[in-house]
Symmetry: C2
Subunit: 469 residues, 2 copies
């Protein structure tokens, strides 16, 4: 198409508008993370969906650019990182519009999607027709990868001393068989490839079992999602349970000893698995949102609730990383804004949402303090990326109680009152009552256009709203 | 353990022996490759098994070191490459000793296993007690990866012109639907992420379908085994069917055009997928064996037989790579010995084995010429890594015909006479007769010790025998 020669005043103003548009082009790399089952895939699907339907069907009243009709649309573009899998948005929407609707398949590893947002700036100035672009690169990746950050701060000896398999009674029970076998191993004996492989497999099986049972604080993270490293020696190490010799004696053992072999694999894991993620991806994200399944943990009981808190504490260290002198500054992130969101807010009645945010704030008190100290703006919130329930009021005697109506995973219509969310860390009395009853729901049927949600607009506003003014 | 002070003549000679042993230490990196279903896993399992049983149960008469009782044993060691999956020898042996016995699971991608061989040199000289070591690093990797080498010699324009989907009628039929959709695409139009992803998926589905139907010459190889690149744009390209514009016009198209987008992905594939395998692995192998399922191709008919020949021709270019000036010499291999073996020789009667080798030699006439020109010693042979049949003579009238007895995959005992293997490229008359009837067999039961084989000892002798003298 030939470009029009700017001879008329109208053409001139169009030309100036184009120049202005190009001048205002912005780019933002936004990452979504969370431990498995926190709702990363649902969040990213809903995020893309809301932006694509902004201004038409999507309800985004808490996002000023959308409320004021300035957000004109979102178009998918080719992503710049050719080696990163594309986030499967279409299959996810397909699953949600199936009969019966299904939750999208969870992603494994990192994935990416690029959007171009078109919007009219709030203060358009003298050129009312000006349109700006924001190029939004969206990523999701497993929060489990961030649990490996503390491994960079330790050497193999310190990691063994930390006894990661011994936190809590239920976890100890899971690892008891592995522990008995690992105790029999002499750090000084010659390493047998087969014995180490077997023990490492038993250790990885323990981690997987712990995750199934609802534990969160699991290291090393890649043992849970090995990908192409399945069966490689770099994933075949484990902490030696009892080291009664001093560090110097252990470190003097020959290269083919059990201790030296495991320590070498630990170092390789640090350098070839953990560091590359930080170097190639993490430090290039501008903003991130961490999703947390607080309600699931409340359901799972005190040991696993505490385990989630501890895991989040470790995970969030990655974001105040820049201030830690021990670690390589090259790996430090440039995060300029962070959100932490309790997901699945549609699984409790609306009057509980404030408690949910208050509880999240209490759980993350220490890491949030560190982040504020590191001058990273951070906000805690609650949301439902894809709302699966409707609120109903139920009369009970003279009272009107709020309740939830939805379809459970077996396809039964149900009406539930899940219970109260504690506003601060639950005490023994809470756990004894076992007062919390969390149900899983199917997505609502007929979600072909904009997805129903709770406060996705608030999340979007915090994460990108300032770039749309 | 304290070292004995060499005071007595016996101790002195032991010491000298130790010194000699260390001085003679050798290392060899041996790779096994072949297109899928050629028998890589069976071969590597048998290779490890024979070496571990050498001198005890294994029948290795064609390997002088074993025949003379000088090969003392093989021990597994920790492999040096921590990021490469370990070859699953134990699960493979487990499958073979199951009831009923099963073939081992095929490997995907590259895997590795390290053995230490202990042997007495043939010319021990004055020190009869001297023992030498050979450290043997064994690898297997998909031959499909080698089919990508020619892509390094081409740019995207040339690749499109080569029309890889149009070789032969049956292949054209497989790709007809994809072709109709791809023809509608204008190289100059703006690339749509979704449209390119869909067409690339259809192209990959065509490659997978072609492989299922017995085709071998399939590019790009990683489309068949994507691993962690599943869903990444680097695997989302395909040849544009009709390019009626000259190269210069196409190359001047903007970055976001269909042509430029696909060409960029093609280049990324060359640099980030094909080259790293050659750089990090291939050029570090000392010796290689290429396994070929000639009998399977004879069974599949003329188009697929010819396709296998062409695929092998391209694949074997990788081994005479050092002499090709167009390609980066840094990627050139240091191969000093090569074997090409027709596998599954136990699926034809013994008097056909000479024909099998003759046929293989004819199929590979041109690539073998290139290799000899490149001064790479190469030998063609036939073998059965794990023999699954027994030979029987059957009387028919006055004749005694050789036949095979085995158990088919459904568990039925069968007696078959598979037919004659042509000694040179089969002609039209051969294909019309459809005279070749290739059956699949289960492994023989009770294979817990040394695995039964045909000429594995000859293969081992060619590949490592000279290092055991």
């Amino acid at each position: 198409m030939a470009m029009p020669t700017p001879t008329t005043p109208g053409a001139l103003s169009r030309e100036l508008g184009n120049l202005l548009e190009r001048g205002r082009d912005r780019q933002l790399r936004l990452a979504v993370t969370g431990l498995s089952r926190a709702g990363k895939t649902a969040f990213l699907t809903s995020l893309v969906n809301q932006l694509r339907h902004a201004g038409v069907e999507a309800r985004l009243d808490l996002l000023p650019a959308a409320r004021d009709g300035r957000l004109l649309g979102a178009q998918r573009l080719n992503q710049p990182d050719l080696g990163v899998p594309r986030f499967p948005y279409d299959p996810a929407m397909q699953a949600l519009s199936d009969t019966p609707p299904r939750w999208p398949e969870p992603t494994r590893g990192i994935s990416e999607l690029r959007l171009a947002l078109r919007y009219r700036p709030a203060r358009g100035g003298w050129l009312r027709t000006s349109v700006s672009h924001l190029t939004l690169d969206l990523f999701d990746y497993p929060g489990e990868w961030l649990l490996d950050l503390p491994l960079l701060d330790q050497d193999y000896y310190q990691w063994c001393q930390s006894r990661p398999y011994a936190r809590g009674e239920q976890r100890q029970a899971i690892f008891s068989e592995w522990l008995a076998a690992a105790e029999a191993l002499d750090p000084a004996e010659e390493a047998s490839e087969a014995v180490l492989a077997e023990l490492a497999e038993a250790y990885a099986a323990g981690l997987k079992r712990a995750r199934q049972l609802g534990f969160s604080h699991l290291q090393p993270g890649r043992f849970l999602l090995p990908g192409e490293l399945e069966g490689a020696p770099v994933l075949q190490f484990f902490p030696l349970p009892y080291l009664d010799q001093p560090r110097e004696a252990l470190e003097a053992l020959p290269d083919n000893s059990v201790y030296a072999t495991l320590a070498a694999r630990f170092r390789y894991y640090q350098k070839q698995v953990v560091q590359p993620f930080y170097r190639d991806h993490f430090r290039r994200f501008d903003r991130q949102i961490i999703l947390v399944d607080v309600l699931g943990a409340l359901n799972a009981g005190p040991e696993r609730f505490e385990d989630l808190s501890r895991a989040l504490g470790e995970l969030m260290q990655s974001f105040s990383y820049g201030n830690r002198h021990l670690l390589n500054r090259l790996l430090a992130p440039r995060i300029d804004r962070l959100a932490v969101a309790a997901t699945k807010a549609d699984h409790v009645t609306p009057e509980q949402h404030d408690n949910l945010v208050a509880l999240l704030n209490t759980m993350l008190k220490e890491p949030l303090k560190d982040l504020r100290f590191a001058n990273v703006p951070v906000k805690a919130m609650s949301l439902a990326a894809i709302r699966a329930t409707r609120t109903r009021e139920v009369r009970q005697g003279r009272e009107r109680l709020p309740a939830l109506r939805g379809t459970d995973l077996e396809g039964e219509e149900t009406l539930v009152y899940p219970g109260d969310v504690p506003a601060s860390l639950p005490d023994a009395a809470f756990w004894q009552r076992q007062g919390f009853d969390f149900a899983n729901f199917r997505p609502l049927p007929g979600t072909t256009g904009a997805l129903p949600h709770i406060r996705m607009d608030a999340a979007i506003d915090w994460l990108i709203g300032d770039k749309l003014t």
